[in-house]
Symmetry: none
Subunit: 231 residues, 2 copies
Amino acid sequence: MAVSSEHPTVLVVEDEPAQREVLYYNLQAEGFEVVTAADGDEALLLVEEEAPDIIVLDWMLPGISGIEICRQLKTRSETRGIPVIMLSARSEEVDRVRGLETGADDYVIKPYSVLELMARVRNQLRRVRPATVGQRLQYDDIVLDAETHRVTRGDHPLKLGPTEFRLLTTFMEKPGRVWSREQLLDRVWGRDIYVDSRTVDVHIGRLRKALCQHGGDDPLRTVRGAGYALG
Amino acid sequence: MAVSSEHPTVLVVEDEPAQREVLYYNLQAEGFEVVTAADGDEALLLVEEEAPDIIVLDWMLPGISGIEICRQLKTRSETRGIPVIMLSARSEEVDRVRGLETGADDYVIKPYSVLELMARVRNQLRRVRPATVGQRLQYDDIVLDAETHRVTRGDHPLKLGPTEFRLLTTFMEKPGRVWSREQLLDRVWGRDIYVDSRTVDVHIGRLRKALCQHGGDDPLRTVRGAGYALG
DNA sequence: CGTTCCTGTGACAAGGACGTAACATCTGTA
DNA sequence: TACAGATGTTACGTCCTTGTCACAGGAACG
C-alpha cells in the first residue's frame, strides 16, 4: 500500500465527469493525492500502478461494474487490505446489502454530503493505516522518522538530500515492492514534472551511497527491465 | 481546564447526529480529543467532567438553547476562559450580533467549510492556550515559561520579541519535529494572514541570534526543502 | 564470443534554497 | 511629534541540490 505519510492516495472511480471533478477537487483540497478512473479497466490498472491507500468506487460503471471490481479487489491478497467506499444512487439502495457483502468497507448514498464523504474517507484511512504514532518506518537496521526527517542506520545518523529522503520513504513504505522508474517519478518528483527517467538511476545511486556511508550492504535491489526495490 | 499539551479537548454540542459525526471525525483527525453532547444539559455536565479546552456549540438545540449555554458558561468564572465557537444556520444569521454579545468568541455559519472551522478552532486555541497552559517547556538547557513569557538558557535570561517567542514555543512543544514554513505561518502568524514564506526565514534567523546571544550551539536545525526543527 | 541493451557513476552547469543585512512600516509611548 | 522596538519585504551572496550527459561495466541472448 502506497502510504505516503503526508498525502495518502485516493483512487476515485466514477464515470460521470462532473462527479469525478467534484470528488477530485474536494479530496485534493483536503490534502490527498488523487487519481481518477472513468471505468473498471482503468481502475484495475491504476490499482496496480498507483497502489492507492483507499478507493472511492461508483456503483454504476460502464463495462465492469463497481461491485465486480470490488469483488476482484477483495479476493486478491495484495489488494484486500485497501478500503473501498462504494457510492450509489438512492434508487440502487436496495443493493446495499449486496454492496457490503462483496466486501466494501463503507457505503455512501448519492446525493452525498461532501463533508460526510470526507469524514468516511478519513475514517477508513485511520482504521487501516499503521497506527504508529509519529510515523516511523523501519526496515532492517534502517529507521526513518517522517516527523523529524531523520534517518539512521544502526545508530549512525545518515545524511541525505531531500530527493533521496523522499525516495527512501517511498521504498520503506512498502519494502520489497518493485517500483518502476515512472512510478518513482510520479511519487517522488511529482505527477506533472518532466524529467528524464534515467535521472532516477542517478538518484538511486546517490541514495545507495548515502545508505552505505557508514558501511553495510546495499539494501536496494535493481530489477533489470522493471525498476528498483528495497530488500 | 483539561490541558494536555499534545491533544487539546474539544467539546462538540450538536443535536443532529450526522453533523455531530462529521465534527467528531474531522476534529479527531486533526489530533484533538473530542467529546460530544447532544443537548444543553449533557453539555453543561461534560464541561464539568471533561474540562474541555474549547467548545463548538450549535445555536439551535432542544431544551436549553446554545445561546443560553454560552451565557451561563461566560458568567461562571471557572468556565469563562474557555473559548466558544458558535454554529448557526444561515437563516439565523440575523442573530449574529446577539451571539457575540453573549460572549461567544467566534461564529461560524452553516453550511461551513470544515477547513475553515478547523482553522477557527486552532485560532481560538492558539489565542488562549499559551496563557492558560502556564507550562514550563524545556529542551536541553533552554527553559520557556509560558506564564511569565520568560525564556532562559543555562541561567542566562534571553531577550526575544513576541514573534520569536511564539516561534520558540511552537518548536518546544514538539522538539525534533520538522515544521514547514506554511505550518509555522499557520501557527505563529495565524491562518488568514498573508505574509511571504521567506519571512519565516528571517525570523528563524532572529530567533537563532537570540538563542545564542550568550553563546552556545545553535539548537535549530534547517531541513533543506522541508522546513525547520528544534534539535 | 559478439552484439545489443540496460545500468552505474563521475563530471558539470544551472537553478534553487537558505542566511542575512538593509530598508520601509507600523505601533505604542513619553 | 519624536523615538524605540518590532515586523515584513527585498536583494544579494553562498552553498547545496539536481538533471543531464558521456562513458564504462555487465547482463541477456543469439
